[in-house]
Each structure stands twice: as C-alpha cells, then as structure tokens.
Amino acid sequence: MTSQHPEKLIIQDLHVAVEEREILKGVNLEIGRGEVHALMGPNGSGKSTLGYAIMGHPSYEVTSGSIEIVEADGNRRDILAMEPDERARAGLFLAFQRPMAIPGVRVADFLRHAVSNVRNPERKEGQELVPMKEFRGELKAKMAELQMDTDFARRYVNDGFSGGEMKRAEILQLAMLAPRFAVLDETDSGLDADAVRLASESIARIGGADMGILIITHHEQLLEHNIPLKTHVMLGGRIVESGGPELAAELHKRGYERIRASYPEAAAAEEAMAAEAAATA
C-alpha cells in the first residue's frame, strides 16, 4: 500500500458528440473529494452534456479524452469503461435538470433498490435489499431534514411532481446515495428564493467534507452555503476560464459579455453550435 492519495475525479481533454455533432471540444477538470466547484456558462455551452457524459448517457458519445477516478490507494479507475449503474456504484451521481417520470414506481421502492446497489456494489439482481425497517427510518429522517412530507415516499417517481418537488427529490436521492462525486445540474432552477436557500443549506450539509461537487448553475444563491473552491466558465464546449467564488458573482451580475469578448474562438464555436442545433431541430 502506497501512501494515502486524495480521491479525485479527473477529466482530461474530453470530447463528446451527440448524434455526430460535437458538443464538448476538449474539457479538462479536476475535482477532489470534499471540494465544491461551480460550472457556469450560457445555455447551450455544453454544461449538461458534461454531466451526462460523466454519468454515461448512451446518446452522449465520448469520442476522445478520459474520465477517471483516482482512488485513495493511488489506482486510477477508468469511468468510461463502466455502464451507468457501475458508475453509480463507483460513487458518481448526477442530479438531473429534468428528472424522468417513472409512472407506477414509488419513490421509496426505487430508492431502496438504488441504495442497496450503491452501498453494496457487488449486489446482483434478486439479492437481498437493505432491510426495510432500517431503510424506512433513514428515508424518513432525510425527508424531514429536507422538509418533505412523508407521503412523498409513496408517490410515483417524478410523476406529476411540480418543478420544486422534482428538485427536492433529486436532493433526497443525493442524500440517500451519498456519492463521492456529484454533478448537480441546475438544481436551483424552478425554485423560489426560500427553496433555493433550503437546497443550498441541504447540499452543504449532505456534501460536507466527503463529497466532490460540481454545481451547474446560472445563479449564485445556490452557492451561498457552498462556496466554490473554483468557478469554471464554459463557452462553446470548453472551459475557457477558471477562478474563485468572485468569478461566479461577476458572471451573475454582468453576464457573459466579457467572457465572449476575451475568448473569440470559443464564442465563434458557440455561435456555430447554436446554428447547427437550430438547423437540426
């Protein structure tokens, strides 16, 4: 055993295409466990694509580059070789911007399966789930912390949920699955100011020092309790600038004009991507 290494999620020169259209054009990012990073950028710059690529969405084809986790023993695990469920079991999580409705499937049943697999990565289909009583107690406690009604667990996953309920359900899943690295894709969109504050506090409490978090957001409120170690700005499929929390504040106040002016090549790529997307839509 070598000396203890900090666990890290490392993304190198990542290129991702959707239906043969290149969206990410070489992304580099390194997130240590326990660190909070913010990812900002105009719509269509590729932020959600990065989240999907990390989680292994089948429509998002990684054409080159790598995503790896550096383990505490120094070994590197190739994330790209894993199926989405294996990535979840390896400790990755994506809070969806638009979570899918699964009619007829109750939140509690779904989460009990998810928790069983993530906590016991070797679990096979049909093997024992986490004990019901233990699971229920934990779920109830986590729901109380998120000020969620207990009825929520019996509802069908995201089926007929309001925007706010969906986002809270995503945070609940984050809390229950306790990943090592999480991407939160606009977990603040569709929430009112109080709900964003609650979400921000909850994420800070859940994350603590154990989670590496990439927060994708257009606003700074979500960062209020999650001061980012670094803020990254994505434009035209690349991270063009990284800074501290003050960068998030600047972008929130002033928008992306300065960024576009400073990185004309990325801004041109952004325009080309927008035109291409409009043509295929």
Binding site: M55, G56, H57, P58, S59, E83, P84, D85, R87, A88, R89, F93, L94, F96, P99, M100, I102, P103, G104, V105, D109, F110, L111, H113, A114, V115, N117, V118, E125, G126, Y156, Q173, L177
Partner: protein, 483 residues
C-alpha cells in the same frame, strides 16, 4: 414512457412491429418447474369419444340430464370448426387425456389431503397463504378438487362454495337453473368441448343480501402430461349480494403440448356485485382457451380482473352482458408475452339495456419475441340508450423482436350512446432507463421496475398476496431479459 402512437375511436387494427413468434424457449420461469409423483387412481384413455364421455359421467355418478348434456355437447364440439382468428391452435384432440381422478374422495380437512398433493401445494405456498389470508380454499389438483374448506359462518349465511361435481349431486336444482345457460355449448368449439368433458371447478351461490368481505379462492395447477384440464365454474350472486372470487394458477412445465379449456359462468342479480380475479401463469406449452361470461342485471356490478402470463397461446376475453338498466361491467386485463408465447387476450362488453356502463382497461407487455394482442368487443344493442363504454389499451414492447396488435371491435346499434376508445403503444424509453441506471439499478432491474410501474394500476387492484406474486412473476419474466 415514449408513446409512439396514440389514437382515439378507431375500428382498425394497429399493425404490430417486429418479427412474429419464435420457437418456445423453456426454462425461463423455473420457480415452478417441478413435479411430484402423483398416483392417479383412474386415467381415462387418450382421445375423445361417446364412450369416454359416458365413462366420465358414470365415474362421477351423474344424473341422466348431465350425461345427456355432455353427449349433446360432444356432438356440437365435433360439428364446429376451429376458430379461424386469434392464434394458431396446434392441439391434437386425440392425444389428450380427458379425465383424471387423483383421489377417491375429496379431502375434508388439510390432514385428509394426500401427502404427495400437499407437497405440491407446500411448494406453491398454499397452506401459509390460507392461514394468513384466505377464508375458504378450493384447490384443484389435476381434474378434481381435492381439498376444500369453508368457514362456518359462510355456511350459516347460506353461502354455497363447493366443487361443481359436488354441486351436481347436492344442489341439482339450483345448479341446473344456470348451468350452460350463460355460455351454452353451442357458443364456441371450446365451450362445447368443456361442456362434454368438464370436471372440477367451483360452484358458488351467494344468497340475497349476503356480503362476503374476504376473497374466496381457488388455486389449481395442471400436473399430468398431455392432460387437458376442463374445469367448470358457476357463480350465482343473488340480489344485493357481494362476492370476490380469486382464481390463481401456476403450472409446471412439460415438453409436450397441453390443453386448458375452462368455462366460467356468472350471474349477478339486481344490485349484486361480483369481482372475479385471475392470475394465470401457465407453462410455455399450454394452450389456454377459456370462455368467461357474466350476466349483470339491474344495477349490478361485474368486475373481471384477468392476468395472463405464460402459455403457448392464450385466447381469453372475459365478457359482461349488461342485461338490465343500471348494470355495470368492468374488465381489467394484463397480458405478458415472452418468447414463444402469444397472448390473445381482451374483453367483451355487451350493452343490452339502457343506462348501462362499461369499462375495459388492458395492459400488455411483449418481450423477447413474444406477441400480445388485444382483442375486444364493445356492442351496444338497439334500445340501449344512454349507455357508456370506455376502452383503454396500452401496450409496452420491450424489444424489436416482440410484437403487439390491437383488434378493437365496436358495434353500435343505438344513437344515444357514449363510446370511447384509446390505444397506445410504447417502448421503454431510453431516458427512463438511463435515469434509473444512473442511480445504480442494473438495466434488467430498471426494466423490471418500469414494467412493474406500467401494470401497477392493475396490480394494486389485486388482493395483497396476489399482488406480491404478480410482481414476483414479472420480475422472473424480466430476469436476464436485457443484454
């Protein structure tokens, strides 16, 4: 769920996609793949003839009217052609045993039931199920009911719950009034066959105003190679009475073809209510050709809940004939077709009186080359004014090899009615699968969960232990289905 088509009020068949039915694959559901040695006391010769029918009637010591009914039915059976629609029925009627009698006498208590038979039921979990949930158990083993119990208070209320053979002996007048009247032997070839060689099944009479709060249950299985099973059930719900009857079935697997052809007749009188729940999980070689029909009178409610899994071919369309004003009919149908299986299932609603209302909800799942067809009829007779019917059928297709068809027949001979029909065909959405797998569920678990959710609206109508069993069966069906 990605809905590919959605249409309203159509008479046309929706063509299925994907290939047809592939060869049967055995070994998918192995939970019930076992058989116990059972010393059948009498085994009729293979094949069908007047002699065999006479012999069956004689063995049962039946009155002349029943023997004559059987013989007449045999003539009808022989004169009728095979149905020319539905699925391919590859049954050789000469290869089938038409009667088996496993024990001399019906067991009166659990202790009287032969050990071999108990062992089979043990493995199916029947005794526990009885202790926990069931008030009266009628378990049919091979061709006859071998075990029956009925709670005393039911008997005190005048409820009759017995096997149909016993009812012929002990309640001849009551039985004869309805037997073969709702589904006459001339109805179809398989109703005629059942009428000629029937054995076992349940007879239930619920007197006026009597309400039975817990489900009555029968649980049976086929356990002899090449043996046809022809049970015959008759339920009479008198005025203002209420009953829920549950029929469950799992069958072990065999390599040769086998036939199951039941007849279920139900009468629900004025303001009576009857619910009939079936979960059938047949071996992949079984032809399951069943006729089920209920007559509902003034203000009465008849509900069929029908779950069909397994079998090589199932053709089953539970019907409600609404005979008097205010009668209601509800039919919920679930079909799951996997490799080598064709579920041709559906429902029939006949509005024969004004102010009657009916509803059909059908959910079908096709996977691994399986084929499921919804075949339904809504008929409104002349004069059945202000009748209302709605039909919703949703099909879920799990892969490109599988197939789903819809054959909705609507015959309306009255102007002043409201009839709705909706059909949808879906595939499991990639986005749903990704969402679930991104939370750590394997693709098979995620698919099973989506399928479970798809049928949840029907499963929640089932008594608890059946809902649990249904979900388990779906999980077993889904295992190894992906990849």
């Amino acid at each position: 769920m990605a809905t590919d088509t959605h249409e309203t009020s159509t008479l046309a068949a929706v063509p299925g996609n994907g290939a047809g039915v592939s060869k049967p694959v055995f070994g998918e559901i192995n939970k019930y793949d076992f058989r116990t040695e059972s010393p059948a006391i009498f085994k009729a010769r293979r094949g069908l003839s007047r002699d065999i029918v006479n012999q069956i009637s004689e063995m049962k010591k039946e009155p002349a009217w029943m023997r004559d009914f059987r013989l007449k039915s045999l003539e009808i059976f022989e004169s009728k052609p095979m149905p020319h629609w539905g699925g391919r029925i590859g049954v050789n009627f000469e290869d089938i045993y038409y009667y088996l009698k496993p024990t001399e006498q019906q067991g009166k208590t659990w202790d009287d039931v032969p050990d071999e038979i108990k062992k089979t039921f043990d493995r199916l979990g029947i005794p526990e199920a009885e202790r926990k949930f069931l008030a009266g158990v009628k378990a049919q083993f091979e061709s006859e009911v071998v075990y029956g119990s009925l709670q005393e208070d039911l008997a005190k209320k005048g409820v009759i719950f017995t096997d149909t053979d016993t009812a012929v002996r002990e309640h001849p007048d009551l039985l004869r009034e309805y037997f073969g009247k709702i589904i006459p032997p001339s109805d179809n070839k398989f109703a005629a066959l059942n009428s000629a060689v029937w054995s076992g099944g349940s007879f239930i009479y619920v007197p006026k105003g009597v309400s039975i709060e817990f489900p009555l249950q029968a649980y049976f299985r086929i356990n002899a190679e090449n043996m046809g099973q022809f049970e015959r059930t008759l339920i009479v719900v008198d005025e203002g009475a209420h009953v829920h009857y549950v029929e469950g079935c799992t069958a072990p697997m065999y390599s040769t073809e086998s036939l199951h052809s039941a007849v279920v007749e139900i009468v629900v009188k004025k303001h009576g209510r009857c619910r009939y729940t079936t979960i059938q999980n047949w071996a992949n070689n079984i032809y399951n050709l069943v006729t089920k029909r209920a007559m509902a009178y003034e203000g009465a409610l008849m509900e069929w809940i029908d779950g069909n899994l397994g079998s090589q071919l199932t053709m089953k369309y539970p019907a409600v004939y609404m005979m008097e004003p205010g009668a209601r009919g509800e039919i919920l149908s679930i079909a799951f077709a996997s490799a080598g299986q064709h579920q041709d299932a559906g429902a029939k609603l006949v509005h024969a009186a004004p102010h009657t209302s009916g509803r059909i909800v059908s959910k079908s799942i096709s996977k691994n080359g399986g084929r499921s067809s919804y075949r339904g009829l809504v008929k409104v007779e002349p004069g059945a004014r202000k009748s209302k019917s709605s039909v919703v059928c949703d099909a879920l297709i799990l892969d490109d090899k599988s197939r789903s068809d819809t054959y909705p027949y609507i015959e309306i001979e009255e102007q002043d009615v409201s009839i709705g029909h909706e059909a949808s065909v879906s595939k499991i959405g990639e986005e749903q699968l990704f969402y679930l797998t991104s939370r750590g569920l394997s693709e098979a678990e995620a698919s099973a969960m989506i399928v479970g959710g798809f049928i949840e609206p029907l499963v929640k109508e089932l008594p608890m232990e059946y809902a649990v069993e249904m979900n388990k069966l779906i999980e077993l069906q889904m295992e190894g289905s992906v990849g």
